[in-house]
């Protein structure tokens, strides 16, 4: 069986499908898979004028709200569960913080700019009862970007299995879902980036089934006056979290893995302990360089090669 690789760009990230099978067949499956990703992007991207996400966000302030389809209803129910389980840390209404946080321009907002947005953030303010979603205040937004990529990875992997591919890997910008291990049973080897030298791998994780998601403070971050600001913002304060440099989780679904990495990052230095108490298959690196988690390989250094005091790369 041959391994076919097809790469494309979607959801703002480089994506790759690795499929085992007959070339003609896998090419067809790859096209179907890519179509699925394109469908989800068209539906949930806030950058598209005609997407469902934009229609929902434009309805903010209208008490009639928007009627959503079955798939969106399940995604909103999932977001509600994640909000409750994370004690309000995982919150899909927090996307509006991007209006004041500009990581590309390296601009740190003023405290009152952030504070002004907080009244518009909070899943508890949203009125959600299937199939009607109401954003009662003008300026509120729903951002699917925090979890739709992981969901897409799981959905694409399921689609490939449905179309007869038993072995393969779906990679959507670093969110991975296994269709199945290599045909000889070997797992997929997933590299975990060194958060302070992101083009180098610090460790390797073995993925047989399910999905892997990673969150890190090195992705889209900025350093202003020697202080690192990561892109993971705590919806309760509006400010970036500190504590973990990177966390990866393996779970039955990439969607669940992604929620756990986000929640762990949002718990700061206690995020690692929280994942351990859950019994999660995780690998995390604290800002101090300390490495932990159930997946710590025997050969990984106990302290990552992070030199404190050295100018940190972004």
């Amino acid at each position: 069986m041959q391994l076919q690789r097809s790469a494309f760009k979607a959801m703002g990230s480089p994506c790759e499908l690795r499929l085992y099978g007959e070339p003609a067949r896998t090419a067809e499956v790859a096209r179907a898979a890519q179509a699925e990703v394109v469908r989800l992007e068209a539906k949930y991207s806030r950058y598209r004028e005609d997407s469902l996400a934009t229609r929902i966000n434009r309805s903010a302030g209208e008490l009639a709200g928007v009627e959503v389809d079955a798939e969106t209803a399940l995604l909103l129910d999932y977001a509600a569960t994640a909000w409750r389980e994370s004690e309000a840390r995982f919150d899909i209404t927090s996307g509006i913080l991007r209006r004041v946080w500009n990581f590309k321009a390296g601009r740190v907002p003023a405290a009152d700019e952030v504070a002004a947005l907080l009244p518009l953030i909070g899943w508890d303010k949203v009125r959600w009862r299937a199939p009607r979603l109401v954003l009662p205040l003008r300026g509120m937004e729903i951002d699917f970007g925090g979890y739709v990529k992981e969901y897409a990875a799981d959905l694409v992997a399921a689609k490939c299995r449905e179309l007869g591919v038993r072995n393969g890997l779906v990679d959507l910008g670093g969110d991975l879902a296994a269709i199945g291990p290599h045909p000889d049973g070997r797992p997929w080897r997933v590299g975990v980036r060194d958060p302070r030298a992101p083009d180098r791998a610090l460790a390797q994780l073995a993925l047989h089934a399910g999905g892997v998601a990673t969150s890190g403070d090195y992705e889209r971050c900025m350093i202003v006056d020697g202080v690192r600001y990561g892109h993971v913002l705590d919806p309760r304060s509006g400010w970036p979290v500190r504590g973990l440099a990177s966390v990866s989780v393996i779970a039955d679904a990439c969607l669940v893995a992604g929620t756990l990495t986000t929640c762990a990052m949002l718990r700061g230095t206690r995020g690692g302990a929280w994942l351990d108490a859950l019994g999660a298959a995780s690998f995390y690196i604290e800002e101090s360089g300390r490495v932990g988690g159930a997946l710590v390989p025997k050969t990984a250094p106990q302290r990552a090669s992070v030199a404190q005091g050295r100018l940190l790369a972004c």
Binding site: A251, R270, G272, A273
Partner: protein, 423 residues
């Protein structure tokens, strides 16, 4: 350990599993997220069931020191005032086989030293006083229980078999249990049966007449239901019927009637019904849970008992749990019980002065602290726990008034250390 204790223990485990599913606690979060993702992602249900968190390895060790308080001089007319000390080591192992089967092994080793109440007689004023056995009897007991559980997507079936051995006592037991989930696992029905047979061959050194071998058989049947009420609360209720047949008396006890001591005699059968209800509610804002348990017992010896236990489990810093609790117990006397009998009795009439069949109430306090060592030791699910319990019983704790308190009622303290881990 008795059949009743085993049934109570497996009921407790089932309730704990349901509570973990519902309340926001370590494993609960994982299950809640995965359950929510099931409808979104095709094929996830099969994968999640196969790799269920319930089917991993786990190992636990517990050590407990139990000490009964000594009796005041005013209650003892002869023998040692010191009572039992019991040290117990317990091991528990669970191992998965394939995707759907879990094997379990529980081993407990107990060492008992001390004296126990032998008979009760009347002092000069007519008040009952205890004659204790002589100092330091040393006894050891070994308990082994093996189980195999077949785990299905919405049901679990288990078979158990075990044995209990002491110097003078041997018992073997078998059990069968089945649980079935309904309403997307919000409701679980369970039922089970158990059977045990034992033989006691008393040591004849300490009294007269010479005892002989005795046997008894016990059968039990139970029905239960567990219901997840909402994402923060769960309730469970179960009814157990137990029938015992054979020699049910205590061969090491005598009873005083008309000033003459003779052997403890009890009916040859005993039917007991017990009804247990549990409620657990988690309070997210304060990271704590309320535990409430109530049990009612009734039997054909006229002993009726009520138990109420309330506890609070408080999580601190995601790693530590502190759990204080209080338990109140009250029971009425068996129909053939008296501290002593003023007049003589025919040899065939049932009579016992065992304090465990007397009317009394008891109050106990427990404090447990549990710490997760998973992060420190790099071993997932590793935990260490310490528990202290103080128990006091007496006529003053009972509901209703009690004419005469049995002088042998016991007070005790227990300190228990447990270590757990999983893979």
């Amino acid at each position: 350990m008795s059949q009743k204790k085993r049934r109570a223990r497996s009921e407790r485990r089932a309730a704990e599993r349901a509570a973990v599913r519902a309340a926001r606690s370590g494993r609960g979060t994982f299950a809640m997220l995965t359950t929510s993702a099931l409808a979104l992602i095709p094929g996830l249900a099969e994968r999640a069931a196969a790799q269920s968190q319930e089917n991993g390895w786990s190992f636990a060790y517990g050590y407990s020191m139990y000490a009964e308080g000594s009796l005041p001089a005013s209650k003892v007319s002869a023998g040692s005032r010191e009572r039992y000390d019991i040290d117990t080591h317990a091991f528990k192992l669970a191992a998965p086989i394939g995707g759907n089967i879990s094997l379990g092994l529980d081993v407990a080793y107990e060492k008992m030293t001390g004296a126990s109440p032998w008979l009760i007689e009347s002092d000069l004023a007519g008040d009952p006083v205890v004659v204790m056995t002589g100092a330091s009897i040393e006894d050891a007991r070994t308990d082994v229980l093996a189980s195999v559980t077949f785990i299905g997507e919405k049901s679990r079936t288990s078979l158990t078999g075990g044995t209990s051995m002491e110097d003078d006592y041997t018992a073997i037991n078998f059990g069968f249990g089945r649980e079935k989930d309904f309403n997307q696992k919000a409701t679980t029905f369970s039922w089970g049966m158990g059977f045990s047979t034992d033989e006691i061959d008393p040591n004849g050194t300490s009294f007269n007449p010479l005892p002989s071998k005795h046997h008894k058989k016990v059968g039990s049947f139970s029905l239960g239901i567990a219901q997840v009420i909402d994402r923060a609360s769960v309730a469970q209720s179960s009814l157990t019927l137990q029938y015992a047949d054979g020699y049910l008396a205590d061969p090491y006890k005598l009873v005083s009637a008309g000033g003459i001591n003779s052997e403890d005699r009890r009916p040859g059968t005993r039917t007991q019904i017990s009804w247990l209800t549990r409620y657990r509610r988690h309070f997210e804002r304060v990271h704590g849970s309320l535990h409430a348990d109530y049990q009612f017992n009734w039997d054909t010896w006229d002993v009726k008992a009520n138990t109420l236990e309330l506890g609070w489990h408080q999580e601190l810093f995601e790693l530590i749990t502190i759990a204080p609790s209080i338990r109140y117990y009250t029971q009425s006397e068996a129909k053939f019980y008296a501290p002593y009998f003023a007049l003589g009795l025919p040899a065939t009439q049932d009579a016992s002065s065992d304090y465990r069949l007397s009317p009394y109430g008891a109050l106990s306090f427990k404090l447990r602290a549990d710490v997760s060592l998973a992060d420190l030791l790099k071993v997932p699910q590793a935990r260490i726990g310490l528990q202290y319990e103080r128990y006091e019983s007496g006529a003053e704790y009972a509901i209703g008034s009690i004419g005469t308190e049995n002088p042998a009622l016991v007070d005790f303290s227990v300190l228990m250390l447990t270590l757990k881990t999983g893979f």
